[in-house]
């Protein structure tokens, strides 16, 4: 019984395997998986025909313990390298994975905190910007009381040999009011982009 509950309520990797997913990807699955395609399609169909209806009855219990899972283990890896850069008065003090720029690195690289910079480098308007940018500003003003400008930007770089880093988006706050303004490609000030939900 316990095993049955875990299988239905906490089965990893099956949350995203919906009829919509199958409809969108049927051709791709057949093209990429070859002889394994019928097995894959069968598993996906069985998931939403049998497991999902049962799991709906367990939803209330499951959500209390928060055990529903979806595993990608990084999929095939990101298509480009993304970094978060924090600068004080135009001088970078933190850059993801840069051993020379490590201001607040122990905090920003902890596995529980790392998803925040990660989502913010993906989306210019991620929900996490609000709390994160406030934390950065508080910490920066405590450590650099003379500072007049704090900026947090996402830097992209392709995998090609001669690819260059470029600012994709970000935010900047300036004294004396320290309100955040949006930055677009190249670090140029832009109007606030339309809000896009980054949470299901």
């Amino acid at each position: 019984m316990v095993g049955f509950f875990f299988l239905c309520a906490g089965t990893p990797g099956t949350r995203s395997l919906t009829p919509k997913f199958l409809k969108r990807n049927r051709k791709t699955i057949h093209a990429k998986a070859g002889v394994l395609a019928p097995v894959l399609v069968g598993l996906i169909e069985a998931n939403f025909q049998y497991r999902v209806p049962i799991s709906k009855h367990f939803l209330k219990v499951q959500s209390v313990f928060r055990i529903a899972q979806n595993w990608g283990l990084y999929g095939a890896g990101p298509k480009r390298m993304r970094r978060l850069q924090i600068s004080i008065d135009g001088e970078p003090v933190y850059l993801t994975n840069d051993p020379a720029l490590r201001w607040r690195a122990p905090q920003l690289t902890h596995r529980k905190i790392r998803p925040l910079p990660d989502t913010m480098t993906i989306k210019a308007e991620a929900f996490n910007w609000t709390g994160f940018s406030r934390w950065v500003l508080n910490e920066a003003r405590a450590d650099f009381p003379e500072a007049t400008e704090v900026s947090v930007v996402a830097i992209f770089r392709d995998h090609a040999v001669n690819a260059e880093r470029r600012i994709h988006h970000g935010r900047r706050a300036r004294a004396p009011d320290w309100s955040w303004e949006h930055l677009g490609p190249g670090g140029v000030r832009v109007e606030a982009p339309e809000v896009e939900a980054d949470e299901p």
Binding site: V2, L40, Y74, A76, M81, P106, R111, L116, F132, H159
Partner: protein, 321 residues
Amino acid sequence: MSRNPWMWWVRRANRPVDVRPWALLRISLACAVLFDQLQMWAVGMSGVAYQLFEYGGLAGFHRPQYWLLDGGPMAAPMLWGLWMVCMACVALGVATRPAILIGVLAYAQLGHLFPTGDRGVDRLVRTVLLMLMFTNAHRCYALGNVLRRRARLRTTAGWATDVLHLLLVLVYMAAGFMKVPEAAWWLGSGAPMLYRILTDPMASYLNGENPIYRNFWPLFRVAGWVTVTWEVCSPVFLTRYARWWGLVGITMHVGIAITMKLGMFSYGMLSLYLVVMSSFLLPWIERAEARLGWWRGETDLSSGQGPSLRYDPVSEGTASE
């Protein structure tokens, strides 16, 4: 196999397996959580991450399932403290079952409060902790046995081992199937899959801008084939070859621990292999127990919990024991 499938199923689910790997899993999982959270506390982030936005929290949103919205600024830190005390109790084996239940509830509540930081491994740890609650792991290598002067249990029902194996199959198959539709892992012209993962600045230590790593692209590509094949073929965990398959998994997770910044993920996953690799592990446990005689004092082999499961190299060889 019995002629009656139901009886066969009942016998299989209830077959006694050695509880010691499960007890070690209980201790290592709780220690992994404690270490992870104490590390977070040491860098001063637990009070910021586990807090509502209006009280200075990092998260711009929280799940509606968070119960302590009106609890004030001290609610989340107290919940965190309760979680840590529970995990310490789980590791020590004191009031283990209530500690698991309360600890997992607190853990889940903090996950609802700070969903961005609640990763796949957190969900897996909670799932396995809940499974542990239904085993006899609380009565082995437990301080509670010493305090309450009760006998150590030697066995637990085998269904838990089967469910854990199945959980690993689902985790790895899901990960494998996520990779299959992507071209980069096979013969794609671009950067190989493992290269892209291991040079992701957000999660890994390798510097992808260093051209030297590009010389190893063939190696990364072959390692990617091995990874995807191993993940997709993970139903082997349900066979008697599970421990051999597990050796590859251990290698992969040790590699992840060395090359990536995923913190508790590797240690949490490696903890599960204590049960998968139990047939390899039991002779070592026997030897360690023989040396640490004081643990023997806690042991009662005639405690009425089914046959003693001392390591027997002749019968050794099934996936579940």
